[in-house]
Amino acid sequence: MGETAVPKTEVRCPVCEAPVLAGDSFCEACGHPLGAPTCTSCGAPAVDADGYCERCGLRQPTGRDHAELELDGGTAGVTDRGLRRSRNEDAMALLATGTQTVVVVCDGVGSSPRADEASAAAVETASAALARGVSTEEAFGLASRAVGKLATSVDDAPACTYVSAVVEGGRITLAWAGDSRAYWLSTGPRPTKTDPSADTQPVATDPPTVTRPVEAEASTDTRPVGVVPAAAIRPAVTGQVVGTQLTEDDAAPTGEITAWLGADYGDVRPHVRVLEPETPGLLLVCSDGLWRYLDGYTFPSTGSPLDMARAMLRHALDSGGQDNVTIVLIPLGDAHG
């Protein structure tokens, strides 16, 4: 058998474009390492140790600029810098213990210094505490103290919002401060016994009967907790997936938040809410980088929670991506049968 001519595809150095041999570790012409990571913008395998592409110059997204997490069981989260901020000051934590799923999302307060450190400290402290069985209120307090310790003075006080969700069995326990939110995304048929109008008017502005507060009033907080007032509940959709806001923002009518974790706030207390959805669905925990774009939005109805979270991120970016975006979805019941 004669030799077969193997067509040689010409390989060129991504930086200086000199021809290089397959298998070489360095370009002989310019010394550029040939096994370098690939640039997210121009695709050249030319990202240097400082994180810059040696062909197009782009500083590569760092771990926090865009991150995705997925747990066994489908719980998934994405966090992204968005299009208008220089860094991502949101932080998220997703943990699965034996029986619980723990999610914490915090959004660094833009006007505070080192807000990215505040949100990172809060999610780390709170998620670890919740995973070892600490109560929702206590975990919130620990996170608040961790953020408070980052301050060197009242004028140098990193700050962040907070929302935590612990899901065990069919029960959801939420705690929050600031304007990060939780939504219930109902994917299943509504039982007619609790919502007679469900079949004909799935999008009405009626108070939602799809969720049921449980023992929320048992909280000893001095701050308002419990049932979200009907006026605050806005079903965001009309498709197969119906979204209902579960949290109530600590925010002035002008949008500024009125509660946060940080040394310049003092003794912040969380809102707490417990509920047991009766239909299958997904718990959405998110920062304002997503919910500011939810008016009139049709939630995705297919794909894994990670696929859906990515689709929601794309929607936020397509809508302007003004702020950092964090989206966590926890499937409950038979959400993905």
Partner: protein
């Protein structure tokens, strides 16, 4: 490398660009300590050629001052420095030593050189290109030394412009040359060409009695250099264009045309030899449109030795797009200052050219504007010289060219316009 000076490179810029922003400006400040840090280390070898104009116009008092100045320069050389002296007319002649090789300075050779200099007499024409080419040829025997020449002339170059330009091109990179013009019959534009081609300075010796001091200072500065030849290596992204690289302090020197390509994205720009000193450079990079929030390295600058590829200092010029006008419209003080200094230089050069060509309107407008800029940026000496050329009525602001301008004032203004002021801490020129 214990005998190498320490370099630091600092970059001043506003990295934020508006959405449609394409031009990135940065001022690079390079500081060299020039200190020798180990006792055993000796300074780099040095080679010095002294070029004296001995054309006919030098006869009389001028040749006496020139002889004294050249003797002072020789006296200033430290032991071991390679030296030669060239006398220039319409041809170039080695007056010391007796042959085409440089000799090491010592008490004996310094005395011999001074005796040879003492015999110099004036007569003949002026061919500066030939003088420089002889210097380049002699210095080529010392490729690793800090190679330097001092050129002194009092008259106009007799060479054709293209001959002179070709001679300068052959000398580029062979040595650094500082020039001195004496009297009021020389042409600043010619010595400016020497300075630009050979990375040196040029200066006006208004009072010929000061010539020896000028020679001593230039020789001392040259002796203080400890690193022979460094280049500034600049990378820009594939889709970007490096619009210019200019030295802006202590003098303006455009390096853009002196690029040597390293690869399609990278080029080397010569900076000459270094002692203990500060220099500043202005870079302008045109970048492709970017996305809000994304950051790029728009320039990657390294100061390095081309023979060993050793990097002495490096830094990044960045660009980040933002829709926050407060960020993108913030003006970097240093960029603004040196942009102003370059504009002042151009106004003076344009104004003087227009004045020489008889275009009174253009000359008046440019020089009056230059005067205001000189005052605003703390260039008192320049403002004082401009005041001798153009008169501005403080009340009405009306400007007119002065008559009977001292030729030496015009030459001093012309020569000095490449010097820049530094930016004071409070943001004003000094």
């Amino acid at each position: 490398m214990g005998d190498q000076p320490t370099f630091t490179l600092h970059i001043d810029q506003n990295k934020y660009l508006p959405i449609d922003g394409r031009e990135v400006h940065a001022i690079l400040t390079i500081n060299s300590t020039g200190t020798v840090t180990t006792e055993s280390a000796t300074p780099a070898e040095a080679a010095e050629v002294i070029i004296i104009d001995t054309s006919g116009s030098m006869s009389g008092g001028k040749i006496r001052e020139a002889r004294a100045a050249a003797a002072t320069a020789v006296q200033t050389l430290r032991d071991g420095v390679h030296v030669a002296v060239i006398a220039g007319t319409d041809r170039a002649r080695v007056v010391y030593p007796n042959g085409p090789q440089l000799v090491r300075a010592s008490a004996a050779t310094r005395a011999e050189a001074q005796r040879a200099i003492g015999k110099l007499s004036a007569g003949g024409g002026t061919s500066i290109g030939q003088w420089l080419q002889l210097a380049a040829q002699m210095l080529s025997a010392h490729p690793n030394a800090i190679r330097h020449a001092i050129l002194m002339t009092d008259g106009q170059n007799n060479e054709r412009a293209d001959v002179f330009a070709a001679a300068l091109a052959r000398c580029e990179g062979a040595f650094v040359c500082d020039s001195l013009g004496v009297g009021d019959d020389w042409v600043p534009a010619e010595l400016r060409k020497v300075a630009e081609a050979l990375l040196g300075t040029f200066d006006f010796v208004r009072n010929q009695g000061d010539l020896a001091d000028f020679f001593r200072n230039l020789t001392q500065t040259s002796m203080s250099k400890t690193v022979a030849e460094l280049v500034m290596r600049v990378w820009v992204p594939q889709t970007a264009t490096l619009k210019w690289v200019k030295q802006v302090s202590p003098t303006l020197l455009d390096l853009t045309g002196k690029r040597t390509d390293v690869n399609p994205l990278t080029g080397d720009y010569p900076t000459g030899s270094w002692g203990a000193e500060d220099r500043e450079y202005h870079l302008c990079v045109e970048v492709p449109p970017g996305q809000i929030g994304s950051e790029i390295r728009a320039g990657w600058v390294k100061l390095l030795r081309p023979d060993t590829q050793e990097v002495f200092a490096s830094g990044n010029v960045l660009a980040q797009w933002t829709d926050d006008l407060a960020q993108s419209t913030r003006i970097n003080g240093k960029v603004a200052h040196y942009t102003g200094q370059a504009e002042l230089h151009e106004l003076i050069q344009d104004g003087l050219s227009a004045r020489a060509a008889g275009d009174v309107d253009t000359a008046t407008a440019r020089l009056a504007k230059a005067k205001q800029l000189a005052v605003d940026s703390g260039r008192e000496d320049t403002a004082r010289l401009l005041d001798k050329v153009v008169e501005v009525d403080p009340a009405s602001g009306t400007a007119r060219l002065r008559k009977n301008v001292d030729k030496a004032d015009a030459i001093e203004l012309d020569t000095g316009s490449v010097r820049t002021s530094k930016l004071r801490k409070n943001g004003e020129g000094s």
